[in-house]
Symmetry: C2
């Protein structure tokens, strides 16, 4: 696997204290799927009537576990549920064998926890193209079941890590009609050290009571503005999975109009999404790209992602070079509408270019000083309409090449 890369310079100082979410309990185990001497399986058990919503990779080559989750999501059930995740082996591109492995895991988990099989959701992350030794996991189910405890979410965050340089967690508490509901989530994702995939896995839990269709529509809408607006290197995993489970244990019912709950969920999702960018391979800069004045929100996002994914923009940022010409280039190639002579570009508060030409007051020294910051904001205004988007990315450095051009042996 090569050496573990050093802790990202953009990592948060500590793993946060996450509140206990009533209705969910966690356990982890060392199943030895691939790694030894560390937990590599996490099980989350959810009380009966928990609703579960999700979002998944749109890859045409998605893994068997993703296909299985997609089939099961959207139902309403009074039965309990479970989420089982292993690290070390992604069970991706394993042909028919992959489907059988998912079946073996969900069947055994259902039996152990006495819940219906269609209420068991699994994810796998790690090497691809190798058969998942699923029996190593099912052999641990009795142990996992016994160990289930409400407070072990931080251990779960660690068990699902592959090449992450830090565990990722976030939470918030929302007050609704004087009563509190809690939201807590964990994530993994950073990029890949050969032969891992850059799988992003996210599990969020709340004690609110939310009907499944309401929860699903919130998750779908928020996913579009959070996880779907981050990019490390434009590459997409075959296994990306986001699951949000509402246990209802607080007794507080959330409806479509619960703006406060939706805002809390958005904060947790955005925080976890940002943490994934901060753990981007080789990242030394965290970059927010805000696009305004586009012909539509969709076109604003296309421009934002074209800038965020441009190797030339990302290397310029790594080199602390205020190279606005590369931003113009990325906008031009994006395919969305732009008018060269209406464009303006800011780095932070510095107006770099305006109406298609460099700002006459632009100071290269001032811009160069700004680019030395670890957190950067690039603002592009297209001058065409009311479309806006914000996307987040990191720079492209020698560290990325070191990690990804490593020999597999």
């Amino acid at each position: 696997m090569g050496a573990t890369p050093p802790l990202s310079p953009l990592a948060p100082s500590d793993f946060p204290d996450l509140p206990v979410i009533e209705g969910v309990s966690f356990a982890t185990a060392e199943a030895g799927v691939r790694y030894t001497g560390r937990p590599d399986v996490m099980l989350a058990k959810l009380v009966s009537a928990t609703t579960i919503a999700g979002a998944f990779t749109r890859s045409a080559t998605r893994s068997a576990a993703v296909l299985d989750c997609q089939e099961k999501i959207g139902q309403n059930s009074d039965a309990g549920a479970a989420i089982l995740v292993n690290s070390g082996n992604a069970n991706a591109f394993t042909g028919r064998n992959g489907t059988d492995a998912v079946k073996a895991l969900t069947e055994a988990t259902a039996k152990t926890l006495n819940i219906p099989e269609d209420r068991v959701f699994t994810s796998s992350t790690g090497v691809i193209g190798e058969a998942l030794p699923h029996q190593r996991i099912t052999d641990k189910l009795a142990e996992l079941s016994k160990a289930l405890a409400p407070g072990d979410i931080s251990a779960a965050a660690r068990a699902i890590m592959t090449t992450d340089t830090f565990p990722k967690g976030s939470s918030t508490t929302v007050t609704i009609d004087g009563q509190q509901v809690r939201i807590a989530g964990i994530a993994k994702g950073s990029g890949m050290i050969a032969p891992d995939m850059a799988t992003m896995l996210v599990y969020i839990f709340t004690d609110a009571a939310v009907d499944q269709p309401v929860l699903q529509s919130m998750v779908t809408a928020l996913n579009r503005k959070t996880f779907n607006c981050i990019t490390v290197d434009s590459d997409t995993s075959t296994s990306d999975t986001l699951l949000v489970a509402a246990t209802g244990a607080s007794g507080i019912r959330i409806t479509e109009s619960s703006v406060g709950f939706m805002e809390g969920l958005r904060q947790v999702m955005l925080d976890l999404a940002h943490q994934v960018v901060r753990d981007g391979e080789g990242a030394t800069k965290f970059v927010e790209i805000a696009v305004t004045g586009a012909a539509s929100d969709a076109e604003a996002r296309i421009h934002g992602m074209a800038i965020a994914n441009s190797p030339l923009v990302k290397t310029a940022i790594a080199g602390e070079d205020a190279n606005w010409g590369r931003i113009v280039m990325a906008i031009g190639k994006s395919g969305a509408r732009a008018d060269r002579d209406q464009l303006s570009i800011r780095f932070g508060d510095i107006l770099v270019a305006n109406e298609g030409w460099v700002n006459p007051d632009y100071s290269e020294d001032e811009a160069a000083a700004y680019m030395k910051n670890q957190e950067l904001e690039i603002h592009v205004d297209l001058g065409l309409g009311g479309g806006t988007a914000v996307v987040w990315t990191c720079d492209l450095t020698h560290g990325y090449i070191d990690i990804n051009a490593d020999y597999r042996s």
Copy 2:
């Protein structure tokens, strides 16, 4: 500008001997647009009745020179024509000023050569966002006009270089009904050292007589299979320009059915396109990606470009890692149709994966040995239909980061 990078390890051993194309003459001059001590302007003068076809960047932020060429292309004229190209300054993102500079250049060239202004085509390549000091070029027009000579195409190839590590030329001779027509072309393009743009400029000349609409339809079709099938880093210049001029001096008329001529033109275009990839920044491997079995040719190209542009695939190639999992990932994210369980992947003659899983006879040692070659072939079969495409790219190395993350100062 930083130090000139060393000669690409993928460079051809020599600049080829290019034949004289009757009806076109060349001159170069040191105008000092930005560089000193080297020619930075080339002028090509074309005899009357020369037909000219072209293809241009589709960037929404394309430069004034490109817009001017696009406006002029497609006409038929009995007048002479000219192509004027400068290196050092791209005259891109220079607002209204850029349009004025193009007007000044075309007006002065037309006057000097006594041809209509709408028969003068210009290109500029180099730094962007800085006003083009066009008078330095027009001051040299009398000198250029006097120096025009039929044999100076190789000097022209050198005058248009910016960060290229070698000049690019190619030619062929086609026999039609026992008579010979000649095709010779030059190109520049490699990538960009800050603050240059990765402009690709290509000028091809033939002594065949070809009606403009016939020439244009050939160029459009061939461009799709040559220059539009190469990628260094997925980024697109605001100034990319391809012009093909047919002087008619051989007296041999080419029609739509002249398969031999079209094949000759294809060879020259493909050779120049490959030379641009071979001069990709930091490139150490030349990679051909052949896609078959896609739902359509268009979808095959989408898959091919997704593989060719994937930073994860490109770093794996740099690391000589036969990482077929990253190819599966790139296919999955491309947006074109794929069925995981129908996919097969070859590196050269080595069958790596078949019908969605690793080939049981696959030897990682054999694949690792293959990946040490400087020229690599990756073949993906989708197993869906008859769509095919071939695209070419290079690897992503520390050299790319060195060149592009350099400080601008």
